[in-house]
């Protein structure tokens, strides 16, 4: 049994450079706190973990299911505010408020979904864009309950003085969430059918419906799952920062999710993770140049979109891997023939 596992490991992980790199990346993340306990670095990486969940949940909803959501910050903000208010007004522990916050985001996802089911393409994008702005208007109008411009502050923070613990918690949550979303969107999965159905809805919704798929149910599922994980990210963010602020609902946060995902590689799950782990620390370190920080950010986005439209992770993967034309197995770029069926690779 162990031998079989080892063999699977060798065939499915070590032999494919993309997966091998992913494994190395996760091992590196695990051992970083052993090497250094610099709290600034660990804090940056912990937030990168949180935002990786957020970006991947956008990829599940928009990249896979094709419901291009321009207001993904709604789910982030709803969960952040729900968990912050529950914590502050009722004194519940973060471990209770975070799941409740994520469930509130599921509700938000279903509410957004109702108009979204009737719309598609640019109409859908623009309507989803409206929702966080509506909520922001309400938050600014009822300042005594929501704190208005200042947000809800003074909530319980998770391990504020133990950066290593915080890092490991965020890392574990990120790993579990991303694994679940990866499985849900895996088109070849034998366990769940959602992956292939999401692909079908994106490619041709009418054809999917004609094949007997209840597309409405699956679109709602995509909104609920995307909302849930974005909510997990939002609630953790609030309890890490100790504040839920209007910035959690901002248009800019919605766009950042899209930019991270497109930068890394849309419709790929690992793309957004790569995107966040490159862009977020880069933007943090650019805080030394506050005046041109946003300018550099926007310039990077433009360059990536013009010259690497499929994203940096996919770009690198295509350089490292070659698909066998006969059996569709991935191979290392230096092989001349396929490792399974020895067909010639071109």
């Amino acid at each position: 049994m162990i031998r079989r596992l080892l063999k699977d490991f060798q065939g499915d992980v070590v032999a494919i450079p993309g997966r091998f790199l992913a494994l190395l990346f996760f091992i590196a993340l695990i051992i970083i706190p052993v090497i250094t306990t610099d709290s600034y670095l660990l804090r940056t990486l912990a937030f990168a973990n949180i935002f990786a969940i957020f970006a991947v949940s956008w990829d599940l909803l928009s990249g896979y299911t094709g419901q291009v959501n321009f207001g993904h910050a709604l789910f982030f903000g709803v969960a952040a505010y729900t968990s912050a208010l529950l914590n502050l007004k009722l004194g519940l522990s973060p471990w209770v408020t975070i799941p409740i916050g994520a469930l509130a985001s599921v509700v938000a996802g279903v509410i957004v979904c109702l108009p979204a089911l009737r719309l598609r393409g640019p109409y859908l994008s623009l309507v989803t864009l409206a929702f966080p702005l509506i909520l922001l208007g309400i938050i600014f109008a009822f300042t005594d309950f929501t704190g208005g411009e200042l947000g809800v502050s003074g909530i319980t923070r998770i391990y504020p003085t133990f950066p290593v613990n915080r890092f490991y918690i965020s890392f574990a949550v990120m790993l579990v969430s991303v694994m679940i979303m990866w499985k849900l969107t895996d088109a070849k999965s034998a366990l769940v059918r959602t992956g292939i159905i999401f692909h079908a809805i994106r490619e041709d919704e009418i054809a999917a419906r004609a094949s007997g798929i209840n597309t409405i149910r699956y679109k709602m599922l995509a909104f609920a799952v995307g909302g849930f994980f974005a909510g997990v990210a939002g609630a953790f963010h609030a309890h890490f920062m100790g504040i839920a602020s209007p910035a959690n609902l901002d248009l800019f946060l919605s766009f950042q999710a899209i930019i991270w995902t497109v930068f890394g590689g849309i419709t790929s799950i690992y793309g957004p993770v790569v995107g966040v782990f490159i862009m977020y620390p880069l933007m943090e370190f650019l805080r030394v140049l506050p005046e041109v920080r946003m300018l550099i950010f926007a310039a990077i986005v433009v360059v990536i979109l013009l010259f690497m439209p499929e994203g940096i992770a996919v770009f690198i993967r295509d350089k490292l891997e070659r698909q066998c034309p006969r059996c569709k197995l991935s191979n290392v770029w230096w092989r001349k023939t396929c490792r399974a069926c020895s067909a010639e690779l071109r």
């Binding site: 994008s125 309400i138 248009l251 300018l295 926007a298 433009v302 979109l305 439209p309």
Partner: protein, 290 residues
Amino acid sequence: MLEGILVNGLVRSGIYALLAIGFSLIFGVARMINLAFTSFYMLGAYGLFLFANRLGLHPLLAMLISLVLTTLIGLATYKIFIDRVREHHVTVMLITMAVAIIYQEVILLIFKGHYYTPLTFLTGYLTILGVKVLYQHILVLGVVVVVLLGVWALLSKTRLGIAIRAVAQDSEIANLMGINVSRILLITMTIASALAAIAGVAVAPTLVLEPYMWTHPLVMIMAIVVLGGLGSVKGSLIGAFIIGFVETAVVFLLPSGAFLKGAIALIVMVVILLVRPEGLFGVVFEEERL
């Protein structure tokens, strides 16, 4: 109260109409959502401030220079950034957003975060129905009427207008009929950025300029254009009046209405879309139907 809503709503709707028609023209002809659109409105306003206040030119001359320069910037933006990705609509939205942020940051670097109000050649006000109306507001309304008539005449009476409408209907067939589609797109983008710049220079003297002034009108004109039906010029005109009056009425009638005006305008948009998913005057294209 009612007079106030009427007069202010009219001015606000006029500005929204100018912006929304440009935005809707771009979407109708090129099928792309240009989020950098209102940054030309901002650039026009800042251009007026630069030439009139900083360099001391006559405001009318400054308006003209700013208008021409902003239109050229719009043209260059299309040529450099949008043209080569115009097939993918999500990419267009992202890249125009990034371009808008670039303009915002450049403005922030040059003018810093201060609040400015540009000079104008028209000062003073008139009292209509007991409401103070600035001469500048009357000028804005006049400009709106002239420009709308101009756009209408261009689209319906000239060969160029016919070509633009043909591309909007079906760009492939238009191409087969010998219309140079990419040139028509270029011309449309130029007209649209000129419309945004006109709105910017006309309304700037009544505003406070700041580097984030492009975001609120952007959200509002997107609501207007979706409400009226993406790509329908008539729809965006009527949508502009609905949203403009709703916003003004909310500001006048509700407590803390200044915060809620955007939210309520967007709720109106969502409700209308729930009833009519293609907008008030939207055309449903076969490949876009659900």
